[in-house]
């Protein structure tokens, strides 16, 4: 069976780009150019046109992505992998890595997601950031992000992917800390970068192990020879890339940065910390399918991480009063679903990507909706100060509602199709994992219903002086588009399209025989979702929501409010001991080591007593020692000659 399996595994064997596809590099170059122009000219000089330039470049990239996609659609299945080598990036001794772009069905979908949702969020930001004096700078960073993200998903090798990987990390750092006069924003930005760097250890070591094993870092070379490497190597690789994925995708145990990242402006949360960047970990695992397919141990680790995170994030989402943090917990949880699916191998890769796409639509939609609500409520994020907003912001309400229906998985909206498939596949793998995924669906329904009720329904609990109003067109139009996509995103599964489209990259879906027909699973899922909704209505909808969070709550709620003590654990295990260690080391360096070496050195050369005297008569002493040295040389040489 194993041999048969290996023969069916897909191999990355791209041909050179031609025709419309040779414009691939322009897709990256456009936003990169936008960022460069705005950053070089500066905020003040570009404030008149930066938002237009920012939008134009990303929309341009979207159009090109569409053109490329259509071109790829028109090709036969075997010709859907192309590579565009721009130049040799790094060449040192026997190491070499190209600046080369790999365009295949997987990157094609990502391109559409990144530039499509990216365009909408750029447009939205025109309105959202209108009154910010540094709006031009904001657009430069957004453009920079899009360019880096495109490099990440178009790279044809691990080193170039690393460039995009940390590039998006930089953009994320800059944007979380965009309002850096707020200490909380600056701290959150730094935290995100540092935690991601921990994950990057995995990315760096993984790339190195790939090179020492295969003699190349290109996906093509690795996938061709993957079957010949040892099991241990593949497992270690799988675990290293999983570490990287945990950092970027905020999976347990590297999840702690994502909630803090909500300090960034809301469009950033929508684009980077919901729709695109945080899903890069899932992309990494799916892209590295040729590694994971050879190591069950690493696959299991991916499944475990995904399962734990999907519950972890969901529980956090239940207890947050900050609308963005509730959504952020939800993002963690949903990415947990994707990870879980990605860990299932060919049975789940396509569904991981499918859910990634639909999640990109509905989560971006809801984040932007949250931004629109905040816009209406004078930037208040506390849902306890909301309530009864459905009439005040009708467009926001309706679009948000579509996102809500999609995420909790009500048919026929997008999330139903994608989440259902993952739960089904999870049951095919293992009963425990399946049950956890099912439970997660129920909790999702609970916390999302809670968000809906607290924000749009119930009674007005507004702060004094707040006059909610609907947002301008630049903000509502993207909402409408995203809401539409949230509604119909499930169409991607029509006729198993997305599964077959991705098959050349990730392999054909293995069919798991379930003990019960799939329709039974779907019905059970719907029942659990209904239960979650019902519970939320009973606990939140039927009661008056207090304007301040009650303090006498259960242990679980307290834990969930504290992000399940993720920060406390980091603090206790790493930061405090680390801090003392650094202080001890500095003191040792300043006193003990310095003294010991100076002392020994001093005694050795008989200089320790003359240390101070030399300051004044120094030049003489210096000349003397040079002379002494020279004399020594002469004596030695004469000695040899004699």
């Amino acid at each position: 069976m194993n041999v048969a399996l290996q023969e069916t595994l897909p191999v990355v064997e791209p041909s050179a780009t031609s025709g419309a596809l040779s414009l691939l590099w322009v897709i990256i170059a456009l936003p990169a150019l936008g960022a460069t122009v705005i950053l070089l000219l500066g905020n003040r000089r570009t404030s008149g046109f930066a938002h237009l330039l920012g939008c134009a470049t990303v929309v341009g990239s979207f159009v090109l992505s569409l053109v490329c996609f259509v071109t790829l659609l028109g090709r036969g299945e075997e010709e859907r992998q192309v590579v565009q080598k721009l130049y040799t990036w790094v060449e040192a001794g026997s190491f070499s890595a190209d600046f080369a772009l790999l365009y295949d069905p997987l990157s094609a979908l990502f391109l559409l997601l990144i530039t499509g949702v990216g365009s909408l969020i750029h447009v939205y930001s025109v309105g959202y950031m209108e009154h910010d004096a540094r709006r031009a700078r904001f657009f430069a960073y957004l453009n920079l992000f899009v360019a880096a993200m495109l490099v990440l998903v178009l790279a044809d090798n691990y080193l170039l992917m690393f460039l995009g990987w940390e590039g998006v990390g930089l953009a994320s750092y800059l944007l979380i800390g965009f309002w850096q006069h707020k200490p909380s924003a600056a701290v959150a930005a730094k935290k995100a970068f540092v935690v991601n760097r921990v994950g990057d250890i995995g990315m760096a070591l993984g790339t190195m192990l790939v090179f020492t094993t295969f003699g190349t870092v290109a996906f093509a070379g690795v996938s061709a020879a993957a079957g010949e490497a040892s099991q241990t190597t593949m497992t270690v690789l799988g675990l290293l890339f999983l570490l990287a994925a945990c950092g970027k995708s905020a999976q347990v145990p590297l999840q702690s940065w994502l909630l803090d990242a909500m300090e960034g402006p809301t469009p950033v949360s929508a684009l980077i910390h919901a729709a695109t960047m945080v899903t890069a970990g899932v992309y990494l695992v799916v892209r590295s399918n040729f590694i994971y397919d050879h190591t069950e141990a690493a696959q299991t680790a991916v499944v475990v991480v995904g399962t734990v995170t999907l519950l972890w994030g969901a529980v956090i989402g239940c207890a947050k009063d900050d609308i963005k943090k509730a959504l952020a917990g939800s993002t963690m949880s949903q990415i947990g679903y994707m990870m879980l699916a990605a860990g299932l191998g060919p049975a789940g890769y396509a569904f991981a990507i499918f859910h990634l796409l639909t999640h990109g639509f509905f989560k971006a939609n809801m984040f932007l909706g949250a931004g629109s609500v905040m816009h209406a409520m004078d930037d208040d994020v506390d849902m306890r100060h909301y309530g009864a907003l459905q009439k005040a912001v009708p467009v926001t309400f309706l679009t948000f509602a579509l996102g809500y229906l999609a995420i909790i998985g009500v048919p026929p909206f997008a999330g139903f199709w994608s989440k259902d498939k993952i739960i089904e596949a999870a049951f095919g793998e293992n009963l425990v994992v399946g049950t956890a995924a099912l439970l997660g669906a129920g909790i999702t329904a609970f916390y999302m219903t809670r968000v809906m009720l607290m924000t749009f329904l119930g009674s007005k609990r507004w702060e004094r002086g707040v006059h909610p109003h609907e947002s301008p067109k630049t903000m509502t139009v993207p909402l409408v588009v995203l809401a539409a996509l949230s509604a119909v995103g499930g169409l991607l599964l029509l006729g198993d399209w997305v599964v077959e489209w991705l098959a050349p990259v990730v392999g054909a879906e293995e069919h798991h025989e379930l003990a019960v027909p799939p329709i039974v699973v779907s019905l059970v899922v719907l029942l659990v979702v209904a239960a979650g909704v019902g519970l939320a209505v009973a606990l939140v909808g039927r009661r008056e929501v207090p304007r301040t969070a009650p303090t006498s709550v259960s242990f679980v709620t307290r834990a969930a409010r504290a992000d399940l003590y993720g920060d406390a654990i980091n603090e206790g295990l790493l930061m405090r001991p680390g801090d003392s260690f650094v202080r001890g080391l500095v003191s040792f360096d300043d006193h003990t080591l310095d003294g010991a070496v100076s002392g020994t050195g001093g005694a050795f050369g008989g200089l320790s007593s003359t240390f101070r005297r030399m300051q004044t008569g120094f030049v003489r002493s210096y000349a003397l020692s040079l002379l002494l040295g020279a004399l020594l040389v002469v004596v030695a040489m004469l000695a040899v000659n004699l």
Binding site: E166, H181, V187, A189, Y622
Partner: protein, 523 residues
């Protein structure tokens, strides 16, 4: 083309220094004579032009050492005035020539309030440039040694004459450490002479001849240690690094750049040029100890940097960490590690220079070196903050900026040598993120503290000084090829002498890949 270009390149700044020294004193106040400064800048730019020409004319497929000059100097010793550059030396000579005008422009007013006036400051800088070019181009061990020691003089006066309040102790500490190293090296230099004089080759200090002299194993190991310790102090590596933070704290920003970006490289350059080439067996023998020290330096320097409140000290410690990486790459004895190391030396030169200079601009404005005295500077000086961030990001080796490539190559080399070396050293990338971003967060972000509220942003001169550094950092992050293609053949030649080869991949990928890489012609 028989012009002795290297001699011209090193004499230009030295002669320029003499001119600057005798010109009427530059200064501030009413007189405001700028001529000596302008001459200094002009001379350094002229030197850059000459060195730039040499760099362009350097033939990457040509002989190992190019632009060679050999003149007998002291016949009895077999000492020669012998110059020549391979790709490694060329890279460092280029770095020196690029950094000197940057330092001069950035330090325009830094010499004014020193002990001996601005003329002396700029003259010493130029002397230092000339000596550095000479030391990187020397192909005679005796010449190298003499110049190696001679570089101490200008830097001693630069620290002792133009620094902070405790500059004298710092200068003396610097000197004692380096003189001790120098003495050890002197003993080894004498030993080399003894060995060569007794061999069939006869007394010689020419590198090309010394490499053919057979040296007994135990002797070679002793000599290796003599050279290595001197270089380790210079580089500096833990545990002999403590002179550097003091020197950086007391020296002016420009002095620190000359010291850390250029002079310290003599240590790591010496390891490649002399330790490896003269004592290949001993180098292999010492490798485990050296690699351990290197990794300890990487982590120790980074941790100490995290704990600093003083900005120049912090930067000095980051350099201890970076020098750990450089030594690591040298002694893993494979092609990418060593090419990475030389590239690292160049990139670190640019990146640390940018960091020291921006920090210097900041400190000069506010009059404090302490991080805790700052806060919210971004709001009042956005350009300064942006420059600090770019320099900082390059120091933490962000992909897209040049230090990433060299650091990755070094780590890749370490991994190929033994994964555990890379696994330990890679922790440095997390620590680097901490020391840079903590510093940035504490100084630049948050509410603006009153004492920096009136701070002026960078002026045109300051931006002009930083611009070439930032440009190189970004461009070489995407196109490192001009440097790597120069360094590669020199590294290959070094490794051949050491008798080291790259480990083969455990699972060689499809042969078509390798063939495709082979056939690629340089475009």
């Amino acid at each position: 083309m028989n012009l002795p270009l290297l001699t011209i390149a090193l004499l230009l700044p030295v002669l320029g220094a003499v001119v600057v020294a005798v010109l009427p004193q530059a200064g501030h106040g009413t007189s405001r004579v700028a001529l000596p400064k302008q001459v200094a800048l002009g001379v350094s730019l002229l030197t850059l032009a000459v060195v730039g020409y040499v760099g362009i004319a350097f033939d990457t497929d040509g002989a190992r050492y190019q632009f060679t000059e050999t003149h007998e100097w002291i016949r009895v010793f077999g000492a020669h005035y012998a110059l020549g550059v391979d790709g490694i030396g060329m890279t460092l000579v280029l770095m020196t020539a690029i950094l000197t005008p940057v330092v001069i422009l950035a330090s325009w007013y830094d010499g004014d309030d020193g002990r001996w006036g601005a003329n002396a400051f700029f003259a010493w800088i130029l002397v230092l440039e000339g000596l550095s070019i000479c030391v990187f181009a020397a192909t005679d061990v005796f010449l190298f040694y003499v110049v190696f020691e001679a570089t101490l003089i200008p830097i001693y006066f630069l620290i002792g004459g133009f620094g902070g309040p405790r500059r004298s102790p710092a200068a003396v500490k610097f000197l004692i450490y380096n003189l001790l190293g120098g003495l050890l090296m002197l003993a080894a230099v004498v030993g080399l002479y003894v060995v060569s004089a007794r061999s069939a080759v006869g007394p010689t200090y020419l590198l090309s001849e010394l490499t053919t002299v057979p040296i007994e194993q135990s002797t070679a190991r002793w000599l290796f240690v003599g050279f290595f310790v001197a270089f380790a102090i210079k580089a500096p590596m833990v545990p002999v690094h403590t002179w550097l933070p003091d020197a950086a704290e007391e020296g002016s920003a420009g002095t620190s750049v000359m010291l850390v970006s250029i002079l310290d490289k003599i240590g790591t350059f010496g390891m490649i040029r002399f330790c490896l080439q003269l004592f290949p067996e001993a180098s292999q023998w010492a490798t485990p100890v050296v690699l351990t020290l290197a990794v300890v330096s990487v982590l120790w320097g980074a941790l100490a940097a995290i704990g600093q409140d003083n900005i120049p000290r912090l930067i000095a410690y980051t350099s201890v960490s970076h020098f750990g990486f450089i030594v690591l790459g040298i002694f893993v004895l494979n092609s990418y590690g060593q090419t990475g190391s030389t590239l690292y030396m160049f990139n670190h030169g640019m990146s640390t220079a940018a960091l020291f200079l921006v920090a210097g601009f900041l400190i000069r404005r506010r009059g404090s070196q302490l991080i805790s005295d700052y806060g919210g500077v971004e709001k009042v000086a956005p350009v300064l903050a942006a420059m600090l961030l770019v320099a900082g990001l390059s120091s933490l080796s962000l992909p897209g900026l040049s230090p990433f490539i060299s650091e990755f190559l070094v780590l890749q080399g370490a991994f190929a040598h033994g994964w555990w070396w890379a696994a330990a050293a890679v922790l440095g990338i997390v620590l680097a993120a901490l020391y840079i971003l903590l510093m940035y967060q504490r100084t630049m972000t948050g509410p603006t503290v009153p004492s920096v509220a009136g701070l002026k942003d960078l002026d045109v001169r300051e931006v002009a000084a930083l611009a070439p550094l930032v440009l190189l950092i970004v461009v070489l992050g995407f196109f490192p090829q001009p440097l790597t293609s120069m360094i590669d053949p020199a590294v290959a030649a070094t490794l051949e002498q050491v008798g080291a080869t790259d480990p083969a991949p455990t699972v060689p990928s499809a042969p078509s890949e390798a063939a495709a890489t082979e056939q690629e012609s340089p475009e």
